[in-house]
Symmetry: C2
Subunit: 150 residues, 2 copies
């Protein structure tokens, strides 16, 4: 626990974030949750320790953590529904910045192989591979932004 606090304090300092009680409790709840919680779920947990906290604060902090890579999102496409009429097995190349999606043909992909055990009774149907990175246009924008801010 003291360990957690020290690490968290350090991470905040490194990213220029103020160390606040709310922020610390939110982060701790995120670390403890094993089920990939929603912001609402975190809000519910945090409220047990800080009843006066607001949902807005939870959202703001989550966004902050995402910005500094102290946290990641399960899907890069939660904002809006993205559709795919290509029903043949294929995979996706996704840009972290602009969230563009490019198809990768399955024939050019050797599937991932899971060698461990699945939970009992889980019926596997298909697998989806996302190769995540930064597309050429976004990479260019980023580097030019960095230069101008130096």
């Amino acid at each position: 626990m003291e360990d957690f606090l020290a690490v968290f304090r350090d991470r905040c300092k490194r990213h220029g974030l103020a160390f606040t009680h709310q922020r610390q409790v939110i982060y701790q709840a995120l670390l403890a949750a094993k089920d990939h919680p929603t912001p609402e779920a975190i809000y519910d947990i945090v409220r047990e320790r800080i009843p006066s906290i607001s949902l807005g604060t939870v959202y703001k902090n989550i966004k902050t953590f995402l910005d500094v890579d102290m946290l990641c999102e399960v899907s890069l496409h939660h904002g809006s529904l993205r559709l795919d009429a290509n029903l043949h097995a294929h995979h996706h190349l996704v840009c972290r910045i602009c969230r563009s999606i490019t198809d990768l043909d399955e024939s050019e992909m050797e599937p991932a192989r899971f060698t461990g055990k699945f939970p009992r009774g889980f019926r596997v149907q298909r697998q989806n591979v996302e190769i995540i990175g930064i597309c050429a246009p976004c990479a260019q924008k980023q580097s030019s932004k960095k230069q101008s801010s130096n």
Copy 2:
């Protein structure tokens, strides 16, 4: 084109869907779009041919197509942000029905290997594998539902 109409008509019949002009134009737009469009994007395209169409109709039809597997969603988690404080490389087992997410340790996974070419300039950072299927509780619910409807 006539080919498309025949196939579409057939698919509708098979799933018990009425063949309507709106539905046909929406599906055609979905098939033609190569960029994993949002419902809004489809709405914009369809409106060129059916200016009076409503966004609600586009949503309803997309939902219908998803229900009968004539279409799939790029991410099963677009509805709400799902967070992951586990920054170590790992993968996910996802239930199509309840959308629960279970972690799979990376050490038990042999990564997918892409043997083709990435778009020029794309900087790959990591890969995410989703194994998609139906979890035990949902499978049970489904089979009992089927029995009772027989």
